[in-house]
């Protein structure tokens, strides 16, 4: 059994992961911090754009509304590598936004991930808000609330359901490699994040290290989710 390379890899990986974490390897710390910075920033921007957008669609009626919803839902499945390619072409020196010199920087990675997550946040918040709108609509209208005011009121009132959506967006961002590797270039010490580091070690054949990094990534995401869940549950209990 111990000769089975699959078992070996897994146990080796766990040992690697533990050693990396215990050793406090500065390179690892830098990669983790960059991953968090890129994905959290992307989630923040995506929420600033996607939450009001999704909520606005939920409370509005306009021609073509159903088509917009279908397209929005479909965009949740945007392949990261396609987004990466498009953003690369936009930011390349030969492209329309080339003069900003953003290619191969963390900013480019944030841009690409934001584009990836906005549809998720918008489509899911649209669904959540629309479901609740049935309950709130008449009362808010009776009080004289404007459509814009309704969007803001609903987003805050539904904040506990929206936390799950934000976590979904973050999960998607932290897990993807296709977009960040193209627009970031996986440059050592500059644009290397957890996922691209794992991809690199895999292609070098160092599978235990790749798996170890994977375990660290999963642990971080798990910890974040647990924290968010606890905060949400305690607050939800209080506010009903």
């Amino acid at each position: 059994m111990l000769d089975d390379p699959r078992v070996n890899s897994l146990s080796e990986a766990t040992v690697q992961a533990a050693q990396l974490v215990a050793g406090g390897d500065p390179k690892l710390v830098q990669i983790v911090l960059l991953s968090l910075r890129v994905s959290l920033t992307a989630v923040l921007l995506a929420c600033l754009i996607g939450l009001p957008f999704g909520a606005a669609i939920a409370v509005s009626r306009f021609a073509g509304r159903r088509s917009v919803i279908v397209v929005l839902n479909a965009l949740m499945g945007l392949p990261p590598v396609v987004v990466g390619l498009v953003v690369y072409l936009l930011l390349s020196r030969a492209g329309p936004l080339g003069s900003f010199g953003l290619l191969f920087t963390p900013t480019a990675m944030v841009m690409a991930q934001t584009i990836l997550i906005v549809p998720i946040v918008a489509a899911l918040s649209r669904q959540v808000v629309e479901d609740a709108w049935q309950e709130y609509r008449e009362q808010l209208k009776s009080l004289g609330e404007s459509r814009l005011g309704s969007v803001a009121t609903l987003l805050w009132d539904l904040r506990f359901s929206l936390v799950t959506i934000v976590l979904a967006g973050f999960g998607r961002a932290a897990a993807e490699v296709g977009a960040v590797i193209i627009v970031g270039g996986n440059i050592d010490g500059v644009t290397r994040v957890m996922t691209t580091a794992i991809a690199l070690e895999t292609s070098k054949g160092d599978l235990p290290l790749a798996l170890g990094l994977g375990m660290i990534l999963l642990t971080i995401v798990l910890a974040l989710n647990a924290a968010a869940f606890i905060v949400k549950e305690t607050a939800q209990q209080r506010y009903g």
Binding site: E135, Y136, E138, Q139, L140, K141, S142, L143, G144, E145, S146, G149, T153, W156, D157, R159, F160, R238, Y239, G240
Partner: protein, 243 residues
């Protein structure tokens, strides 16, 4: 200082109002006039269109044809002078007092005045001790009283109520009825839909009896319960009252 009271919303005139959905006429040509003063209670069998009529008056629905006209309507975007309480209270995930303050904010009350006025409204319905409680963890009766306080804080000219005590126990029902009575005493026109005929007798000054989308009978509460003029009303009362 010129304290001009704004011109009154009432009377409200409905002329040949029809409300149809998918070809079905839920309101089938109603003309009526609501004046300030008497507490108006709308009764009738299920499907008569009572709730729809209420919503048409309040502006939550638009008529398919016919007109609904207030004497001097509220300017759009201006402060609300009418309010509505629904069968199930819709409260925000905030404290009780914040819910009332929210309504005041929408209607343009300056920030400094919101809290004092909100607390005052809670006091009127006996909820001031629960001001800082999250609204959604209150009991059904307390939530409905809060909804009433929220409406009351706006000092509305007209208060529409759609079966406000249908989901409440007798004790809570009694408290709501007291609050409604107090609001009326302070000058608010009451227009209420109810299934509870005892409640209609207790609270009503005049009765609007609806049947299949028509206004079948209109009379003072006294006369309606003693001697209903229409056949449908008589049948309705007979079926409902536990003789």
């Amino acid at each position: 200082m010129d304290m001009r009271t704004p011109p009154s919303l009432l009377p409200l005139e409905l002329a040949r109002v029809v409300f149809a959905v998918g070809g079905r006429r839920i309101i089938d040509g109603i003309s009526l006039r609501l004046d300030a003063g008497p507490r108006t209670i709308i009764v009738g069998p299920n499907g008569a269109g009572k709730s729809v009529l209420l919503r048409l008056c309040h502006g939550l629905l638009l008529p398919t044809s016919g007109t609904i006209r207030w004497t001097s309507p509220e300017p759009p975007g201006g402060p609300r002078r009418q309010a509505m309480v629904f069968q199930r209270p819709v409260l925000l995930r905030r404290t009780a007092v914040a819910n009332v303050a929210y309504a005041l904010a929408i209607t343009g009350v300056p920030r400094a005045q919101r809290m004092p006025r909100a607390l005052d409204a809670l006091r009127r319905v006996g909820l001031e001790h629960l001001a800082k409680h999250p609204a959604r963890v209150l009991s059904g009766g307390e939530q409905q009283r809060l909804a009433l306080a929220r409406a009351w804080a706006l000092s509305p000219e007209v208060l529409f109520l759609d079966e406000p005590t249908a989901s409440l126990d007798p004790g809570a029902t009694h408290e709501i009825e007291n609050a409604i009575g107090a609001m009326h005493a302070s000058g608010t026109k009451i227009v209420m839909v109810t299934h509870n005929l005892g409640q209609a007798r207790r609270l009503g000054d005049e009765i609007l009896f609806m049947h299949q989308g028509h206004l079948a009978e209109r009379a003072s509460a006294d006369r309606f319960f003693r001697e209903p003029a229409s056949r449908e009303a008589a049948q309705f009362l007979e079926g409902e009252l536990p003789w």
